[in-house]
């Protein structure tokens, strides 16, 4: 299995970070966390994670802007972005579709399904 891959979780809710962090760590991933979009962006640049899980509504830098800023990076180095959002509306669906390697999960989300999506992506890349 493709383990010890880096996964970055960006969410301003500590309990969401904690649940995903423990779940992914138990699966053997290396997990990094960030509490806002700005921290998240600099972690993407410096740590080069394979997967980024991000909220949309966040302080400092929202998920949409974060995606727009990271999309050019993906031309050089591929990684998966999973956007977690409370309500998905057509406009959101549209801009997410424009981004490379970006999918969304509706809140309340299933931690198991997030793991499935990560494993599917990493397997596809091998």
């Amino acid at each position: 299995m493709a383990k010890n891959k880096k996964i970055l979780i960006i969410d301003d809710e500590a309990y969401i970070r904690r649940v995903l962090e423990l779940k992914l760590k138990n699966r053997g991933y290396e997990v990094l966390t960030a509490a806002n979009g700005e921290e998240g962006f600099s972690a993407i640049e410096s740590q080069q994670p394979e997967v980024v899980i991000s909220d949309i509504m966040m302080p400092k830098l929202d998920g949409k802007t974060l995606c727009e800023k990271t999309n050019p990076i993906k031309k050089k180095r591929r990684f998966l972005t999973i956007i977690v959002t409370a309500r998905i509306n057509p406009e959101e669906r549209d801009w997410i579709a424009q981004m490379q390697d970006t999918i969304f999960m509706e809140k309340p989300f299933s931690p198991n399904k997030i793991v499935d999506a990560i494993e599917k992506y990493l397997k596809g890349r091998e």
Binding site: V19, K23, E106, P108, S110, N112
Partner: protein, 498 residues
């Protein structure tokens, strides 16, 4: 044990002052870290290994010397088990003795070393225990997320509120994926037709089954009286019984819940799984039972609005569980309070309407706590005035959250006023006596009882009659004296029976 890396810095800083070298090893003897350079003379590998084994086996301090060197170690425990050992070693003639080249006076004799390592071990253990508690709570929360997800998905799918075959297929799909099982199916009877129709089961790829497998397994249910409970039927391991074994060559576990509501039975909802490493959790059973009940209600009820409301109510109930997951002192509180209220309501002979209102108000009375930060809910010290105002606001906030649900209209007074005091000193409106709605007065008694009873049992103090004494002291000031009497009856006669 890996969290202990934080202690590496601390112990490394101690080493140059006292010439003691430290190691932390896990219960298998594996090194977590050591301080300074590895000092072979103080820590001969075989000797360290033997010492760790002895410490784990005997669960106490060990001390040993070899020539000028000594080696000692202290167990690291959490509540249940010994997780590893903290070792210290050095040269007996160097180090802590007065007149040596360190500024510290001290001794490396067994008694002193035991005391030193004991207090260091206590620090480490505290960290380990906290870490473990956090992990346990996080795992529970993780399950809560899964359950909430399933609720939300199904709620969004049951928009039409007509239980069509297509919708059932989707439902089975969801069950299959989120509950991590290999097959999900429903078998439902339609009105006045006792023949069960099998909804096309959803199965995972690795599952190949005979055409009539599901009929056969359902046929077993009424025959096997011992395994049949009122609402569900469970096979934890098909190898236990030849009846189960002969249906399918591969070992499996199986869970079916009755699709029923208010006594009317419509069929079964079943799950099958080949992974015998895990079992069906209590939480999964509860969730499945509640899904089955909702299916039954949809079949039962053609009134679209009522169904929609019921659904919202159930969603809200799952929110209650989410709140209680945050507040560690009130876990299960709402459910208990509701039980007490129902018993009191039955004794008071409430009308069906009032009884229903009480039922929902009692289970939802703390829903307004939803936005209160954990730091306030779990605060051990006295709350500041501002924090107390936030807590107080939960009664009004709760009613605002539930106001849109028409079905709960009669329950709102009970939620808003459950912190009013009988003498008028409560909140939010300072109502007194009979001005306070009856449902609110009932909830106040049950709520107060559970708060006292639970916090006492939490602290391990003796319980029982003393709680009742406290309630009696509050009768007339905080609580309605007549209802305290009713509660005493409930407590002595209804609650003792189980």
């Amino acid at each position: 044990m890996n969290e202990l890396k934080t202690f590496e810095a601390l112990l490394s800083n101690i080493t140059p002052f006292c010439r003691l070298h430290f190691q932390i090893r896990d219960s298998a003897g594996k090194m977590i870290f050591f301080t300074g350079d590895a000092v072979p003379e103080a820590f001969p590998p075989e000797k360290s290994q033997v010492m760790v084994e002895t410490i784990i086996a005997q669960n106490r301090f060990q001390y040993d010397t070899a020539g000028p060197n000594f080696l000692c170690g202290h167990p690291l425990r959490n509540h249940q088990e010994t997780l590893g050992a903290l070792l210290a070693g050095g040269h007996s003639s160097r180090g802590l003795n007065p007149g040596e080249d360190t500024p510290f006076a001290g001794s490396t004799q067994p008694r002193e070393m035991e005391s030193l390592l004991g207090s260091l071990a206590a620090l480490v253990e505290e960290k380990l225990t906290t870490q473990q508690e956090i992990e346990e709570m996080t795992l529970k929360l993780d399950q809560g997320f899964e359950d909430l997800y399933l609720y939300a998905r199904i709620a969004s799918q049951i928009k039409t509120l007509k239980l069509s075959d297509d919708m059932l297929k989707l439902l089975m799909e969801e069950l299959l994926e989120s509950m991590r099982v290999d097959a999900a199916f429903a078998s439902l009877s339609h009105k006045r037709n006792y023949k069960l129709d099998l909804i096309p089961p959803r199965v995972s790829e690795k599952f190949s089954f005979q055409k009539n497998f599901f009929e056969k397994i359902l046929n077993l249910i009424p025959l096997n009286a011992t395994a049949t409970n009122e609402n569900y039927f469970i096979i934890n391991d098909s190898r236990e019984d030849p009846c189960y074994r002969e249906l399918l060559s591969e070992p499996y576990r199986f869970l079916a819940v009755r699709v029923q509501h208010q006594g009317a039975v419509y069929g079964w909802l079943g799950l099958l799984c080949f992974n015998l490493q895990e079992i069906f959790r209590q939480g999964e059973l509860k969730l499945l039972l509640s899904l089955a009940e909702q299916m039954a209600m949809i079949i039962n009820n053609t009134n679209l609005y009522k169904n929609l409301e019921q659904f919202v109510v159930n969603m809200v109930k799952s929110l209650v569980f989410a709140i209680e997951a945050k507040d560690r002192y009130t876990r299960g509180h709402s459910e208990r309070v509701s039980t007490y209220c129902m018993l009191m309501g039955a004794r008071l002979g409430l009308s069906k309407k009032d009884y229903e209102a009480l039922k929902w108000a009692s289970i939802l009375h703390d829903i307004g706590k939803i936005g209160i930060p954990e730091s306030i809910l779990n605060k051990k010290d006295q709350l500041t005035n501002a924090e107390f105002e936030i807590i107080k606001n939960h009664t009004v906030k709760g009613s605002k959250i539930l106001k849109p649900i028409e079905h709960l209209g009669d329950s709102l007074p009970g939620i808003i006023h459950h912190h009013e005091h009988f003498d008028g000193s409560g909140y939010p409106d300072g109502l007194r006596g009979e001005e306070i709605p009856l449902t609110a007065r009932i909830i106040a008694v049950a709520d107060t009882f559970d708060a006292i009873n639970f916090s006492r049992s939490y602290r391990g103090a003796s319980i029982d009659e003393k709680v009742i004494d406290i309630l009696e002291k509050l009768a007339g000031s905080q609580l309605d004296p007549r209802l305290v009497e009713v509660f005493k009856k409930v407590y002595t006669e209804d609650m003792k029976s189980d």
